[in-house]
Symmetry: C2
Amino acid sequence: MSLIVLGTVALDTVRTPFGFRRRMLGGSAAHFSMAARLFTKVNLVAIIGRDFPQEYINFLDKKGIILTSLIRAEGATFKWSGEYKRDLNAALTLSTELGVLSAFKPKISEDQKRIKHIFLANVDPDIQRHLLAHMRTPELVALDSMNYWIKHKRQSLLRLLKEVDIYVANDQEARDLSGEANLIKAAQYLYSRGPEMVLIKKGEHGVLLYCSKFIFSIPAYPTDKVVDPTGAGDTFAGGFMGYLAKVKKINQVNLKKAVAYGTVAASFNVEAFGLQRTSRLKLKDLERRLSRFRKCILF
Amino acid sequence: MSLIVLGTVALDTVRTPFGFRRRMLGGSAAHFSMAARLFTKVNLVAIIGRDFPQEYINFLDKKGIILTSLIRAEGATFKWSGEYKRDLNAALTLSTELGVLSAFKPKISEDQKRIKHIFLANVDPDIQRHLLAHMRTPELVALDSMNYWIKHKRQSLLRLLKEVDIYVANDQEARDLSGEANLIKAAQYLYSRGPEMVLIKKGEHGVLLYCSKFIFSIPAYPTDKVVDPTGAGDTFAGGFMGYLAKVKKINQVNLKKAVAYGTVAASFNVEAFGLQRTSRLKLKDLERRLSRFRKCILF
């Protein structure tokens, strides 16, 4: 019952119609961890620079995230700056500074190499492969990526698809990598490239899980409280993978429930800037919203 | 157990990646009727021109649609021509010829005036109001519209909202009329303008039903078979209103089931050009897909 996540820990500067925040704690691994920690021990693998505030490390530590493989290196921390206009579904990236991320070589302990549940959040596919190669007994490996790698390291990413169980993508990425406009066809294509399952995140429109045995599709949790959607996809993945790490058994019932947990976790994430809401989240908040959510989609 | 629908009967010319069809039988009232007939007697109120093929009238008649208020007038039938590119979710309108539609004054019989379930499909809101004024004992009135009327007859449409039970809109229309980007906020605004319920159709992303007591949100039926989506929204409305006309009792359970029936009806509509698939549809096809659909969203 533990989980390892490879990804980014970043300093995010975000403007939305509801405010402006400078250099918040962000990044895929940070958002993922904040949801996954509700279910299991989370081992975070990432790199930060000299400018990374100690208070953010203390904050992650206090949340119970295992930080032994959070490396600090010479140079600047990865920074993302973005803006959301009236339509909060689309982020406009203003700037990206890779900093120490460009020379990231993950290092993990012998104990961590024996962790069975692995989430490869969005970084260079060669770094993802590098970590995966060190894992001794992987049981469930999920892979996320982004448009940049689909464009610039397509072959590397396609090769990696054969080595993972679940490929997680947003709808645009799924369409870009598959060349299919219809999402079911896109999922079928991606499935044919290797993974056991394809999980397509559609933002405000929910999630689609595709595998050979079944298709599962649920909407997002209906909410009018969207303050900052940054990290919603990673929060979803954290809830999804965290639940599976907890229950261990990978079957249809648990997979569907994991998608539902991820969905409600993401609905909390968007309610406030950065990790503000998810860092205060308790499992019982998730449970309560899950049962409300169930009523919203049952007929 | 009968239903009256006011809308268009049109000649549609459509190009999609799967083919090209000229002057098919189409229009909102035709698509609506083809789904609603599976549940109840459908009275169609529309206007056609001299050029409308008799075979199409015979076809509707054979499907059991009551055509006593399908008026034939001097002039040309309403024609729509559109194209769908690779992304079948967005129609590109190539031309619209109103023809006889521009001078349409619906006329209905004394019997029809006593029908309790009324669907005002997309035509000029003044024509919709004209028909509604003649209904003696309305019990459930649903209203659809389109961007053209939101732009050009906004006040007329907003006034009409106060007189109906359900306002049906697609996501873009809901955003345009409300000025809200978030769909829950859009639904709240539209609800505040009068109707008991707001039903937002999101195409490939499903449907949202909003009212004071509950929110219901389901995805579209997952399908990779999309040949021609023209009329999917009207087919949805036909399944939704047809089911409610059949069960009569308007409660939460029946409303949700009606949305689900509409959803699966629409999933058949997109599988072939025009009315080709829905005209062959039987209630048991809907039932079968409904139970498959339920499995796709249950957790």
